[in-house]
Amino acid sequence: MRKTTPSQDFIRGIWNENPVLIQMLGLCPALAVTNSVANALAMSAATFFVICCSSVLISTCKKFIPHEVRISSYILVIATFVTLADMLLQAYAPVQHKELGAFIALIVVNCMILGRQEAFSAKNSVFRSLLDAIGTGIGFTIALVMMGGFREILGEGRFLGYSLFGPNFEPWVIMVLPAGGFLTLGFILLAMGFFEQRKKAKTEQAVEVSS
């Protein structure tokens, strides 16, 4: 494994290895709850809480967890924090809790969280695991809020519940329906592919000119 600096651990999850947009992990919540920005924020907050707490706990206990049962132990730790997050949301944000419904419980099976534990927390110090978890959590939040923004603005003409275009705007109903989730993420990926290719073409050109 190559060595990285703490700042790289932090930045990596946000952009270069963004869990949703690059690694395609945790797609289920990313598509299911992003029909409005408020839901996307609540979901990201819950996931952020779970990933930070479990990363810290697992990197603290990594010496005591036997290698053979590590995956089950990680799942148990994650499930415990998800239960906590579920109760906290129910107590402090009952509206969002009702909107998200079963998807809060489904954070347990979000491959992104388990993936970070297995790939990072199990091998690194507490501080760096926390940095990595925060980075990944922010990356997840960015992706979710971006999708939620697109879908709410186009689908309802509102952002965070505030009307943007006035009554003459004809909402694209498809965007808040399930199909809109697939299409939004699909088009975001297309745009990313486009920019990636343009960047590549530019560097190639630069190489040609310099040689």
């Binding site: 289920c28 598509l31 148990l76 499930a79 199909a179 697939f182 699909g186 990926l189 592919g193």
Partner: protein, 191 residues
């Protein structure tokens, strides 16, 4: 207790609220295993089997144990799903080594398949009884299989067509999924 008829439970789980295309559950195999029709079909069948077992166990847990300790629901469900997948894996390996080889990595990966865990949670939230639960599981499993096979057939024919280079890979799969999901929306009026 929920008094929905078995047919409406079945039909809603399979087509109208298709697990993959309308509720976004089980997207990992949907993206990962949908390159060939044959694998997709096998994956779907294995899923139906595990879903029915999960539904049964979730019902047992809900009726006899979780009444008194509702806050243990998430933890106990994930343990049940994980051990079920393990048991199924061992059983398949013992009884039919051929099938075991064909399914390969997809069997153990079912633990983190949201469709299976999601089924247990949805069944509990809607208060389905034993028969309703099993019908729900079969319907959901058939719906997953349907979505997987449809997707795989489309991807098999897309493979040889001239797709713009930026759209190759996941982007294209997602847009096809969006179109399929739109098609499934047409069933919404049925129930």
């Amino acid at each position: 207790m929920n008094d929905q008829t078995l047919f409406s439970v079945f039909f809603s789980a399979m087509v109208v609220n298709n697990f993959t295309l309308a509720m976004f559950l089980g997207l990992c195999p949907f993206m990962g295993v949908s390159a060939r029709v044959e694998t997709a079909l096998r994956m779907g069948l294995a899923n139906i089997f595990v879903l029915v077992l999960t539904s049964l166990s979730a019902w047992v847990l809900n009726t006899f144990i979780l009444e008194t300790v509702p806050y243990l629901r998430i933890i106990s469900f994930i343990i049940v799903v994980a051990s079920l997948v393990q048991i199924v894996e061992m059983a398949v390996k013992k009884m039919s080594p051929t099938l075991f080889r064909q399914l390969g990595i997809f069997l153990p990966l079912m633990t983190t398949n949201c469709a299976i865990f999601g089924l247990a949670i949805f069944q509990t939230n809607r208060g389905y009884g034993l028969m309703q639960g099993i019908t729900f599981a079969v319907g959901a499993g058939l719906g997953l299989t349907l979505a997987l096979v449809l997707m795989a057939s489309i991807r098999e024919s897309v493979e040889f067509s001239d797709v713009p280079s930026i759209a190759r890979g996941t982007g294209l799969v997602l847009i096809i999924a969006g179109t399929l999901s739109m098609a499934f929306m047409g069933f919404a009026g049925l129930l």
